[in-house]
Symmetry: C2
Subunit: 334 residues, 2 copies
């Protein structure tokens, strides 16, 4: 299939064209990039909602509930799941599958898991490009589901316009990470499994964590849901809409969009350079020789890095030194 | 202070020289690299123990216990803490401070927290170079403490010869992450706060998670400790020694060392390229123009990335395409 056919297919909302385009992006195939190039002028319509949180808190069930809310408002929906224990792949409980399968036959709901072949920065790059494909395909709402509260997951979730953190009683690690400032404060926090005796205690703990952050204090809604029965999901949908309107009124979406573009381009550039480097690690005799020399302690790692930057990236040592000097100067100036 | 003075200072075990060298590395200062270059041939002696786990599980107290164990064996010890809520900085409870302060006046114990100015990949790079400084300074044991169970923290912990994951009852997220394969299986697992009624339940859960991994099944000790009273700490020290002897007998240390060198060099190369790119983001009019064009949807992100790779890194579009084609071919061949 040629990129031009995929482009017209995606613009017509064809599911197979969408799926093939996203697969090309996962593979880092340049044909996928040609597709994005062709679709770019048709993007800018979709609103993206990121859901993140530890494994097992019921994000997928909540996604099912949000799909239903969006469809009630007659909106087209896409779900991108970058969750390794997602219902699209493995590890989900039966309830989740049933919940999402409600929407499998709905032509206006597109669901898809994302994976990459593990190159540095590749997952968030592929995900942000896949969001553009779904946007160009006419989706009104894109639900971006990530699992875990590590840096990668939070980075991916940050590609969304509204970021929802989902927790449940027992998510103590995540609360500690919020408290320690390791995890960024989301736009909305959901405590799922609200029937659990500790749910209100968790909500209270979260309020006291948020109270420490002067700028955001009182701004981040904490909602209690019971995803399998749908309790609280309509309130979450309303809260997402409120956040959207508030940020749009403040110009927040465009500020966030600027940051997203900067992040997206930075990641893509770094992913491409990392790809080149991975190639060199596998195939370049010079790089392999350098690694063996360091392993045998015949060469120090700093000189090794300089040689590699010189040989693989064609930057002279003087370039590297100039950069280092500039960086050191900046650091001193702080 | 000149690099040559720092080198002789570090080799003499001078605390101030060690501290200044590590600060230079944190700052990405090229003088720090000259120090590493000079120290490199004096490294290869130290054994490193990585401790990682969610915030608040008592890692610092455990570190205090392990320092005492090492000192009883008449070994010189260094602690590198890359924990943002560490006792060296903020957020620790009084008990931890007291515990570590037992060793503050001991000239053969060096304790230090690590931070960087937040460039991509910089923390693990600076940490691995700081470990070389401590190694050259004659430390027998380096305790590397990281907080959290995200990708960055796990990457930093993986720089160690023996990786210990510390959990306590309530660390449900971390157990889920192990189960989902998001977190790598450590060499040793410690359940701290063993007096907690749920401690044995957690240990049992962990055993069933490990039972899923055929290769490692039965190989990963799960120990119960009560760090403040020191219960179980001697057993942990013995278990670390056993792991060290086992891997050395199997040649495992050298295999791990090969992987560490590859990882270390890769991160350093990427960190330097990222540094160049961050500079360009701030100062390069062409890069800024490209970003604005993407923000205004006048330019698609794929073309933007190609232009930046061309302009900042001096790689022609044909280079980029060649790399992409090679990568796509590799992906297809899998």
């Amino acid at each position: 299939v040629r990129p031009s056919e995929l482009i017209s297919g995606v613009l017509a909302g064809d599911r197979r064209a969408i799926a093939r385009s996203i697969t090309l992006l996962e593979d880092g195939d340049s044909a996928g990039w040609d597709v994005v190039r062709g679709l770019h002028s048709h993007t800018g319509h979709a609103f993206t909602i990121g859901l993140t949180g530890p494994p097992g808190v019921g994000k997928s069930t909540l996604v099912g509930g949000l799909i239903a809310q969006a469809r009630e408002s007659d909106q087209d929906v896409a779900v991108l799941s970058v969750d390794p224990s997602s219902p699209f792949t493995r590890g989900a409980v039966l309830g989740d599958r049933i919940r999402l399968s409600d929407h499998i036959l709905d032509a206006r709901v597109y669901m898809r898991s994302m994976a990459t072949r593990g190159h540095l920065g590749g997952l968030s790059e592929a995900t942000s490009l896949a969001m553009m494909v779904l946007d160009a395909a006419g989706k009104d709402v894109i639900l971006l589901e990530t699992v875990g509260t590590g840096q990668t997951e939070v980075e991916v979730a940050a590609l969304a316009d509204t970021v929802v953190l989902v927790l449940m009683p027992g998510s103590g690690d995540a609360v500690q990470a919020l408290k320690a400032g390791i995890m960024e404060i989301p736009d909305i926090i959901v405590v799922n499994k609200r029937e659990h005796p500790q749910a209100r205690v968790l909500a209270k703990d979260l309020r006291s964590v948020l109270a420490l952050d002067r700028e955001r204090r009182g701004e981040v809604p904490i909602l209690l849901t019971q995803a399998p029965t749908g309790e609280g999901v309509a309130e979450l949908w309303t809260s997402i809409g409120t956040h959207r309107r508030k940020t749009e009124a403040r110009g927040g979406v465009s500020i966030r969009r600027q940051a997203q573009v900067r992040t997206q381009i930075t990641r893509a550039v770094m992913a491409h350079l990392a790809g080149q480097f991975e190639d060199a690690l596998m195939t370049d005799a010079c790089v392999q020789g350098v690694l063996v020399a360091v392993q045998n302690r015949e060469l120090d790692p700093v000189t090794a890095v300089e040689r590699i930057i010189h040989d693989v990236f064609g930057l002279g040592l003087e370039d590297a030194s100039a950069v280092l000097t500039r960086r050191a100067a900046t650091a001193d100036g702080q």
